[in-house]
Assembly symmetry: C2
Homo-oligomer: 177 residues x 2
């Protein structure tokens, strides 16, 4: 990838992007949640070269998202399983899944979330765990944390941040794709 | 970026990754939610070259995530605003923010979500909009959608998918980073 390292950035979004490295890493994590654990199975699922896959798996192990677990001593073999940190990535995958389903499935959805007690399709929404209220309610806002400094703190204190505020709708029909 | 196109993949996660192209695009979207609209301000925020920024902004416009809006006729100038589709990307950013805050802020958080009526810090959780129940409840599962075919359908019908199931905890302390 042609890009600068994000490691000096303090933004938690930038740090997460740095950790997972590139798109293949996110698809590897997706496959882990689908039950895939072995090198050959990742390769078959993703259709990428062995060298690329080796690099991405090594990077995910180094990032603490996956760990190698031996499953055979003769010959020595290991598979890859999600660590606690890797499993904590689940909400990002759920958010990507929901966005893709809402925006990018003109031919119909290939994977949906259902409530098996009712058969109804589930519409995921992010809420405050304590109150159960959707994060888009006006009471919620971004604020500087204890480690915020300089421009980050000023920007968050200005109240201009719109990540948690409904925004005026510039165009209800986005450009055709 | 050195990677294959994901455009032939039907997975909504892969399609979303294809749409946003690379990490810079996600940070540009983040900055849009922070109120940034103009080329020079994106450049100052991200510290990237003008050519890279131009390419990423053009790709986001083409993807229907941003649109150009003129703000001056003499000289001709435009800024970049989020479309409806771009604003729908918000939950992905919130999920990345939460992950980064939980995992990658050893020195303390720089940005948090607070409930301004109580001052309490908010712990975001993904729930079913209808029932309000967390998606990790056993009643929720992934299922094949109307467009699912072949291996995708089989894998989803097998019930092995763990994206919505608590997993055995292989190692509560992931590798140190």
């Amino acid at each position: 990838m042609q890009r600068k390292s994000f490691s000096e950035m303090t933004c938690p979004i930038a740090r997460t992007l740095e950790l997972v490295g590139e798109w293949w890493s996110i698809l590897i994590l997706r496959d882990c949640f689908a039950g895939i654990r072995r090198f050959d199975d990742f390769q078959a699922s993703l259709g990428i070269g062995a060298n690329t896959l080796t690099r991405r798996l090594n990077a995910l192990v180094e990032a603490g998202m996956l760990e190698r677990r031996p499953y055979s001593a003769h010959p020595p073999r290991h598979d890859y399983v999600l660590t606690r940190r890797g499993r904590d990535f689940r909400p990002v995958l759920l958010a990507l899944l929901a966005f893709g389903n809402n925006e990018l499935t003109p031919e119909g959805e290939t994977v949906v979330i259902v409530d098996s007690t009712t058969g109804a399709q589930v519409d995921p929404v992010v809420v405050d765990r304590r109150s159960g209220l959707p994060l888009m309610e006006p009471r919620f806002r971004l604020a500087p944390g204890p480690a915020a400094k300089g421009a980050t703190r000023e920007r968050l204190e200005s109240g201009r941040h719109e990540l948690l505020r409904p925004m005026p709708d510039p165009t209800d029909a986005g450009p055709a794709t």
